[in-house]
Symmetry: C2
């Protein structure tokens, strides 16, 4: 009963979100939420679906990169892939010629994410489980065998990782039951995009409060006076007891970040997200140190390129909240490494989501984190935005500001074929 | 007399270097040296040539990325571009949608390098000067105006950069004369690729010595016993007085790097190059610290993705030799920032070269570094390999192991059209 991958197709799908300024921030003023959308065909008819998220222009480049990786999948059996998933991960990320244009970063790594997301989706479908449940049911050693520890052993060894997973086995069932009942806590980013008017801001916050939301994130960084006014509006709308987070999307240099955020301290943000370049570990460490006395943490990760960078952010105490992303890192495999490192360094993981499909995907990973790794909800929550879920066959289910665990088999990556066709950017994408 | 860019073409050009194991190392076992080759057409007939270097597969992805950037150049005048070169750099690197797939790293940044290299080539041609001379003749303020200081002001301010440049003006003419007479010191990497036999190793070292070479780099990292034998062969061939450097091309984790290189200390290498992940600043810092007592420095840079990473390598004392690359960073603009930071942190710059065209390009930058920034040759040298120069219209000139300053106008990027056509990978590259 061997199941082989017989074909890989990839399409460039773009949604015109920039028209209404959904998703606008200080650095990304007109995003068109998009995906490179991958479908794996198999000789038994089952399919695997995967995607990586982009902002519009450039999706065709990621499509081209997926096409470059595709030959590494063709004729491979699922058994062969997941039987040595670490080896397969390394095959994709360490190709002797392709690694030059990365390695493990930017376009080629986004493409790796799309392809591996599809493999995980296929695996979970074949097992008849939602991905989070597939992960939760795996033996600790099998989880370990999916992770490439290259370049992170100075922070986390295989033995340490195994120990963490074994320890969490104890009360796993209890946490799984809890998640099935209550869901995983979420926060809301849909109320306060940078392009929204003051009136809209106030209206959306009030509506969200009425729907049970208690944690809110808003965009800042374009203009300090505007930020003060807007933070005031949101803080007033949500009241002193609820949680406010602010997000600058890399707008500042180090010194500017410290002074700007200090000026917003009166609004009591829990964290400042992406205060500066996503590459600047030491810069984030300096900002973290300066803002700690104000009770403001630093969060980053949606553009953190790989596990080697996350390792250093943790080693340098450069962040207080780890924001993994299901499409920036090398799929579940690399996110597992980050979850385990974050646990070792005692830093909470609060996933990045939003865009197209990011909520659908990352909920699986954070459910696994709670049930099988961290065993804690302290200071933890998963981002949520309310866009574009209608294009998925198994959209997220939010109840009372919590992500309810997916029940359909797979990684929730499958899009409605009608949506894909309606929003396909070009008949022909990629590099041919 | 405005000169406008009217068209951008890009081609995928691959040379079959893997056949004879030229360029082979511990991580790149079968490179086919390649370029994404850019030609800018103008309304006055002059052309600008640029390229970025790749290892074969994946060049089509970079071609696709160049095509995504091309619209940002069309109909722009050269005057408009170089009159606000910082602004133009930021236009290319900070496009609100495209930056998501970088920012400033991997495929999209390699493409930025190719495009901007072509702009610099065009500018130098129009001025009738080789690029190094164009740079040397520019006023300090004009140099500053080409640099995007975003994300590096905590390490180097505009004022500090200006001060460095103004100070070096003093004895500039003397150093220019010296370079025209003597050339810039080079070291040789062509003798000891990992795929070469012991016999070939010995033969090539002996021949190079006879041609005046005194500084040699060899590849290590695949097998420790092999490395000991091969290092012994090379050290014996070149004698105790000449310089040996070793290069592991990212093969190790941090602890392994320290122990492996310690085992090779008896061969007295000046530096270990790329001991681990190019992204691991803190790892390189740990390795630097451990190897310092052995008199071995750490060198890295050919895969250092941007100025933000170089900044941190310098801040963390993670390297003792800065290896800039003309095609990995955002062209001359970003390399200027790195030269100035390296000078401030008193770390010598020893450019990465080889591949296709890297020697041709980077010689201009290091000449400028000596004449207008560092004013020092201590512990400084530029890499040289003897491959593929015959495909360029203005190939490098090496005399007595020194790079002789180019005399033809431009950035030495132009390839022979016959070579391009003979080695073009596909009639149609890129994403259309």
């Amino acid at each position: 009963m061997v199941l082989k991958i017989t074909n890989v197709t990839v399409r460039d799908v773009r949604f015109p979100t920039s028209v209404e300024q959904h998703g606008s921030d200080a650095m990304h003023t007109d995003p068109d939420y998009s995906v490179a959308y991958v479908v794996l065909d198999t000789d038994r008819g089952e399919k695997g679906y995967g995607l990586t998220f982009t902002l519009g222009k450039g999706t065709e480049i990621v499509v081209c990169a997926v096409e470059a990786l595709a030959p590494l999948l063709i004729e491979k059996s699922l058994e062969e892939i997941v039987g040595d998933f670490r080896g397969f991960y390394r095959l994709l990320t360490s190709d002797s010629q392709l690694r030059w244009i990365g390695p493990e970063k930017g376009v080629i790594h986004l493409a790796t994410a799309a392809v591996l997301n599809a493999v995980w989706d296929l695996w979970a479908r074949i097992e008849g489980k939602p991905l989070w449940k597939l992960l939760v049911d795996m033996e600790p050693m099998q989880i370990i065998s999916c992770i490439d520890f290259r370049y992170i052993t100075d922070a986390l060894t295989e033995e340490e990782a195994l120990e963490i997973l074994v320890k969490a086995q104890e009360s796993k069932q209890q946490r799984e039951d809890q998640m099935l009942k209550e869901g995983y806590p979420a926060y809301n980013t849909s109320c306060a995009w940078l392009g929204y008017s003051d009136q809209l801001l106030k209206k959306l916050c009030t509506e969200a409060l009425n729907s049970g939301w208690t944690k809110f994130k808003m965009k800042v960084g374009a203009n300090l006076e505007d930020d003060k006014r807007r933070c005031g509006i949101v803080r007033q709308a949500i009241g002193p007891q609820n949680t406010l987070m602010i997000d600058a999307n890399q707008r500042w240099d180090v010194a500017e970040a410290i002074s700007w955020v200090s000026s917003l301290a009166e609004f009591k943000p829990l964290w400042i997200e992406e205060p500066t370049s996503p590459d600047d570990i030491l810069g984030h460490a300096a900002i973290s140190k300066a803002l700690a006395p104000l009770g403001i943490g630093v969060a980053t990760g949606e553009q953190c390129q790989n596990r080697v960078m996350f390792k250093q952010f943790l080693q340098a105490s450069a962040l207080q909240f780890v924001q993994i992303d299901s499409c920036r890192l090398g799929s579940v495999n690399e996110n597992l490494a980050v979850l385990l490192m974050a646990h070792k360094f005692r830093v909470p993981v609060c996933p990045h989501a939003g865009g197209v499909g990011l909520c659908e995907l990352v909920q699986h990973i954070i459910l696994f984190d709670y049930i099988s790794v961290s065993a804690s909800l302290d200071n933890r929550m998963c981002e949520y935005t309310d866009h574009l879920h209608q294009h998925f066959t198994s959209p997220v289910v939010i109840c009372d500001a919590h992500y309810m665990p997916p029940v359909d088999p797979g990684y929730s990556c499958e899009m409605l074929e009608s949506s894909v066709q309606m929003h396909q950017f070009q008949k022909r994408g990629g590099c041919e």
